[in-house]
Amino acid sequence: MSHHTTIRIEKVTLHSREKSSPKTILDDISFTSPAGKITALLGPSGAGKSSLLRLMCRLDDPDEGRIFLDEKDISDIPVLELRLRVGMVFQIPVMFPGTVRHNLEIAQKLCRTRECMSTEGLLDLVDLSDDYLERQAENLSVGEKQRVQLARVLVSRPEVLLLDEPTSGLDVMSAERIVNLIKRINKETGTSVVLVTHLLEQASALADYVALVSEGRLVREAEMKGFLKWAKMGKFKLAALMSEARNERN
């Protein structure tokens, strides 16, 4: 694929629908994820990262603001086209009942008439052997599910990948392989990636671009190099922010 896609978030606000405690989940957020690049979405737990990803594939609509895919408002793109162009890897992987092969076949079927990846070699891509094809997907470990989920999303050859902490269930080695895979997909196909992560190290190893959010607001958006410099200057605050994020997870 030669086509590179830019995602632009413009003044997006999202409120929770809970009547008992109305809450602003995202507050006037704007940033751009450049075409063909990997953008890290950093921020502590509860910052609104997952909520933002959901908006990008239109699983929710923002209360205010707009989101653009290549200068086109995503609410003007037919939903099916959008969902196939934008692949979403959820923070908590959910398998469909049945085998891993069945899971991949569902994704193929949902591509309808579009060209999609065949199951051959797909698992290899996410560092799983082909023996996994006949395993019951719901019995896999979280880390294995995460990789099957990624494979399932890759089936439609999305031009944008939204990854919500794709390595959180993995050991260091497997995480590294996934990181390399993401890098490779990005380099080889020019797929734009938005990667949610708590790990500054992972972000700096992988991402070209960073958006830091906290409490639903954008704190900073920058090139990785500039961001690291800035982070060093205000090191104390950022470290506190990120370790707070990590503590809450543990």
Binding site: R17, R58, D61, V79, R83, V94, P97, I106, L110, Q149
Partner: protein
């Protein structure tokens, strides 16, 4: 026929049964006494009224009055299905109404026109009580489906949204939920088919037998009734599910957030 008439005085003695129930619920502090009292009064009022209506209906014996009453019964049943939901709106009412009407029309036509061959076709003496049984069961089926649909979709929110994110349309993403909902709505009917005549003697058969009819003939009616309820429940449940899953999704193939928080 030699049915023993219940005089009004004797009928009032049946309140002993209500008092027994009240005493127990008071003792257990279940806080149900208001509902029991209301239910007792409503039962008496509604049934006396129904008796009165049927009395005139049979006397007039007019096809349009019969049809009108059937429509009113269906509307009330649909309203009741809607009332039993967490989210109530007019759409729920119309879905239930359409589903109950279809299930009822089919079963009622087969039973009265083909099996019993009622003459004239609208004879209220047959139409009304038989339709009453069908509509009552269809109503339960419709509310069970809507409840279960919501339950399945919120329980399997992750699965449903994984489907949607991969490009599935709502009907594909909710296929599992609609199937489960239809099954859940049909289960009571199927279960009752398994035990009828062994543990359970349905009201209609009991009534006919007390009224002095030959049990062998009453049984034939009951067999037909069971099959007719099965068909009505199946049709109503399926239609409710097929029309109802849309309630939980937006036009943009999203789960409606306000339904699930």
């Amino acid at each position: 026929m030699n049915v023993i008439e219940i005089s009004l005085i004797n009928l009032s003695l049946s309140l002993i049964l209500v008092v027994a129930s009240l005493v127990i619920t008071f003792g257990m502090r279940l806080g149900l006494w208001k509902e029991i009292l209301l239910g007792t009064v409503r039962t008496a009022l509604q049934l006396f009224l129904a008796g009165l209506v049927l009395h005139y209906l049979f006397r007039w014996n007019l096809w349009y009055v019969t049809i009108l009453l059937l429509l009113v019964m269906t509307a009330v049943a649909s309203f009741e299905s809607m009332r039993r939901q967490r989210r109530r709106n007019l759409k729920v009412f119309f879905i239930a109404f359409a589903a109950v009407i279809c299930g009822t029309a089919f079963s009622l036509t087969v039973v009265t026109a083909i099996v019993i061959q009622v003459k004239p076709w609208y004879d209220p003496q047959y139409m009304i009580p038989i339709a009453g049984m069908i509509i009552g069961n269809s109503m339960s089926a419709a509310s069970l489906v809507l409840n279960r649909l919501w339950g399945e979709l919120s329980l399997r929110k992750g699965e449903v949204e994984s489907y949607l994110a991969l490009g599935a349309a709502p009907f594909e993403a909710s296929r599992h939920a609609t199937k489960e909902a239809i099954k859940a709505a049909m289960t009571p009917t199927i279960n009752s088919m398994m035990i009828v005549g062994i543990v359970q003697f349905p009201g209609m058969m009991t009534g006919q037998i007390i009224a002095g009819q030959d049990p062998a003939s009453a049984v034939r009616y009951q067999i037909m009734v069971m099959y007719m309820i099965l068909a009505a429940a199946t049709i109503t449940a399926t239609l409710t599910a097929v029309l109802g899953y849309r309630l939980f999704f937006t036009k943009a193939w999203q789960l409606k957030r306000e339904m699930f928080s």
